[in-house]
């Protein structure tokens, strides 16, 4: 469970105008929740707060009852996979394959099993042919798929995906949708930040609507 308790957040440059004001929210980690709202409503900000990449000005964020400020980022990273709205922000390696393997190589936990997992993910996300390409030379949609594949390497319990379907073609959307269905079956949930109404209503069990610094639960499908 990710809990927000009366969280107020403002960017330092606009400290007088908080993006979120006294926002409380309980987010289940075993189901798929959609998050929608107009541009600039603060969806990305909310996602970054849940990941501990931003600190609230007031209130607190808890993951499974533990205050997020007490958990080091790499531990959060092992538990929760985060897809940035702009995938370039999270790509760092020189080749597509290294993008998946490098953290493991550094940790010296690289193994035959890890390599097999990487190959499987590259095939799933249709990147196997581009294995040795520089990630920054991929198209935007391919970069998004690569970022997704990379964060699946850790087999995280929960995912926060910021606009994952943006610039994905139909086939890739289906791959992502299948992946989500599979995760829901395993009771590993995710938060889907998206303007993509059809996609959200097809795959999410619950939808949140963020507007005017408040949050509303709008729909509850099965």
């Amino acid at each position: 469970m990710i809990q927000l308790q009366k969280v107020t957040f403002a960017y330092p440059s606009q400290i007088q105008q908080p993006v979120l004001r006294r926002l409380s929210l309980n987010l289940r980690m075993d189901i798929c929740t959609g998050l929608t709202g107009s541009n600039g409503a603060g969806k990305t900000t909310l996602g970054l707060l849940m990941m501990g990449l931003l600190q609230p000005v007031d209130g607190q964020v808890l993951i499974n009852g533990k205050s997020i400020s007490d958990i080091p980022l790499h531990q959060i990273g092992r538990q929760i996979g985060y897809l940035f709205q702009n995938p370039r922000q999270q790509l760092f390696a020189d080749t597509v394959l290294d993008e998946l393997l490098f953290p493991f190589i550094l940790q010296q936990t690289d193994s035959a099993e890890i390599r097999k997992r990487a190959d499987k993910l590259l095939t799933l996300f249709q990147l196997a042919r581009r294995k040795n390409e520089n990630p920054l030379r991929l198209s935007t949609g391919e970069q998004k798929r690569l970022a997704l594949a990379a964060l699946m390497m850790n087999e995280p319990d929960f995912l926060i995906l910021d606009e994952p379907t943006n610039s994905l073609d139909l086939a890739s959307r289906r791959v992502l949708g299948d992946l989500m269905t599979e995760r829901i079956r395993m009771q590993k949930g995710l938060l889907l930040i998206s303007h993509d109404q059809p996609f959200v209503s097809q795959y999410c069990q619950s939808v949140l609507f963020l507007d005017d610094k408040k949050i509303q639960e709008v729909a509850c499908a099965t």
């Binding site: 990941m51 501990g52 990449l53 600190q55 400020s69 080091p72 980022l73 790499h74 959060i76 990273g77 092992r78 985060y82 922000q89 999270q90 790509l91 760092f92 390696a93 020189d94 080749t95 290294d98 490098f102 953290p103 190589i105 550094l106 940790q107 990379a150 964060l151 390497m153 850790n154």
Partner: protein, 239 residues
């Protein structure tokens, strides 16, 4: 030959710093030959590097010609009637500039034969803290750019001063600090972004070991340490 990044870094550091300190054309020529040998040793793809940097190279050539034609001090080497066309000092500074740039380029090409991950990994195996390793690697990727900018500015300054040959040290240091601060900030930003991306993937980079709240302090700490050592180094090299 496949060399460990650590083995490359030492000769590269030596060659580039000597290239900046030394002035005589002969010494620079020897350094250039050494740099060439090094890049051949690690089988750097020189034709690729040079074709990529064609524009940069032609800029170098342009600067060389400007130096050659506009530097009026020293004995005349080439005259047309009464007019001096090329002077000894002009040729010397021009050659010095081009040799230096070539040495730095070759060293860059030699380093580029191992990718940034291999370099990070090798530094970590040297027991360097992750934070520092990220910074060193991102900083290295800025060196060619920095060298270029510093040189352009210095030459622009030199061309403006007609009478005195030397630029006062104060002015030089000022120029360097103008150029260095944006570069340091960029390096820190890049190093931090890299470490956050790695942390998000479950790797403990050590950039924010205790608490992310304390990041600000550590950030400025590093800034001061790096900036002061760079400025110290520069003053040392100029005077």
């Amino acid at each position: 030959m496949q060399l460990d990044p650590r083995a490359k870094m030492l000769p590269v550091c030596l060659l580039t710093s000597l290239a900046i300190i030394r002035n005589s054309t002969l010494q620079l020529l020897i350094l250039l030959i050494l740099a060439l040998l090094l890049s051949m040793l690690v089988s750097a793809d020189l034709s690729k590097v040079f074709s990529k940097l064609r524009i940069v190279l032609s800029t170098f050539l342009g600067i060389f010609i400007i130096q050659l034609l506009f530097n009026r001090s020293g004995e005349a080497l080439l005259t047309a009637g009464n007019r001096v066309i090329v002077t000894e000092t002009g040729l010397e500074t021009g050659l010095g500039f081009i040799l230096r740039m070539l040495i730095i380029l070759l060293c860059g090409a030699a380093l580029a034969t191992s990718n940034s991950q291999a370099s990070i990994q090798s530094l970590i195996q040297l027991k360097l803290p992750y934070t520092l390793a990220f910074m060193v690697i991102t900083a290295i990727s800025f060196i060619p750019m920095l060298a270029r900018e510093v040189n352009h500015t210095l030459i622009a300054l030199q061309l403006r001063k007609k009478k005195k040959k030397k630029i006062p040290v104060r002015q030089k240091v000022k120029t360097f600090t103008y150029l260095f601060f944006p570069v340091i900030m960029q390096t820190l930003d890049k190093a931090q972004a890299l470490s956050i991306a790695l942390d998000l993937r479950g790797f403990r980079s050590g950039f924010m070991k205790t608490s992310r709240m304390k990041l600000k302090l550590r950030y400025t700490d590093w800034l001061v340490i790096i900036a002061s050592s760079l400025i110290f180094l520069m003053v040392l090299l100029i005077v």
